[in-house]
């Protein structure tokens, strides 16, 4: 995925060649759908939201200032839309209290599959308050790059770092036994 390809396609679309937008769709459909899926956990809805992002991107191509990389602009647009869509119609979620926590960490050590633990952590993230969840989703989506997450969210890096810290704190508080398992192994 090169920034110059995006720029060339954008110039062509703005020049009236709509078919050039297909290149943008092909390059970014995967990342946009996956980002939407991380927000909604619903494949159908993820594709609907990603389609809406492409439409808005098409309408607003002229507003993209060349001082930022196209993908930065596109992800900020997508993040904005996904957040507002999920505020409008929240995704179905399970309560944090519904997440099974073993009474004894040793039992957990013995019985809980790694996959189940991963799933529990993901569900816990999904049930965090929106501002922490969004920061975590964007941070991991951008492969743990705080500046990229901050640009997508339109927030200062310091705010994103604080939200990541607080989000992890809540996770640790909510899943102490799940996350403490390897510690017992080490001990």
């Amino acid at each position: 995925m090169s920034a110059s390809d995006d720029q060339a396609d954008v110039e062509r679309v703005l020049g009236g060649d709509i078919s050039a937008f297909e290149g943008i769709v092909h390059r970014w459909q995967g990342p946009l759908i996956n980002l939407a899926y991380r927000f909604s956990r619903d494949r159908g809805r993820a594709e609907e939201m990603a389609q809406e992002v492409f439409l808005r991107a098409y309408r607003g191509l002229g507003q993209w200032r060349r001082d930022a990389v196209f993908s930065t602009w596109l992800f900020a647009l997508a993040t904005n839309l996904y957040r507002s869509e999920l505020r409008r119609i929240p995704a179905q979620s399970t309560s944090l209290d519904d997440i099974a926590e073993p009474a004894d960490a040793r039992a957990c050590d013995a019985g809980l599959e790694e996959r189940d633990r991963d799933s529990a952590v993901r569900r816990a993230v999904w049930n965090l308050p929106a501002k922490y969840r969004e920061a975590l989703i964007l941070f991991y989506f951008h492969e743990m790059d705080v500046p990229s997450a901050a640009r997508s969210l339109g927030l200062p890096e310091g705010t994103v770092k604080a939200r990541l810290f607080r989000g992890r704190e809540i996770l640790r508080g909510k899943l102490p036994q799940l996350l403490a398992v390897p510690r017992l192994k080490e001990a």
Binding site: I33, N34, E47, Q51, L55, R59, R168
Partner: protein
């Protein structure tokens, strides 16, 4: 303790970094391009006719300001009228016209409230019409 926190953070990073990836469905790009072509073919949205609406908006604003001023004046007069009973005790012959004035002002205030309500309803309705929600 610090080691535990570090370990937990690594653990969270490890788990959340390998989130499930999904692939776009086969017709997704085609469907997006169809929507984009429909969008391109659609006529541009009709802009709000500010030039035509401006005189009406100005007249409406002026009328609203007048109503507000009239309302405030009426309230002030009503407030002054409320002190009248002090005099009416010693001057019973003047009580009737003061009560009459109070009655008139109360009527004016209710008309003012009604006018404000009507203005509010018409503005709301126009905005809904303009946004195409009716």
């Amino acid at each position: 303790m610090e080691r535990l926190v570090r370990h937990n953070e690594d653990e969270i990073n490890r788990i959340l970094s390998r989130d499930d990836e999904i692939l776009p469905s086969s017709g997704f790009a085609v469907s997006v391009m169809d929507a984009v072509r429909r969008e391109a073919a659609a006529p541009p949205p009709i802009p709000f006719p500010w030039k035509r609406a401006l005189p009406g908006l100005l007249a409406g604003g002026f009328a609203l300001a007048l109503v507000l001023v009239a309302g405030v004046v009426a309230m002030v007069q009503l407030g002054r009228g409320a002190t009248a009973p002090q005099f009416s005790v010693s001057l019973p012959s003047r009580m009737t016209p003061i009560l009459g004035l109070q009655h008139n002002l109360a009527g004016a205030a209710s008309w003012t409230v009604l006018a404000l309500l009507l203005t509010w309803v018409s503005v709301k309705f126009s905005m809904r019409l303009a946004s195409g929600r009716v």
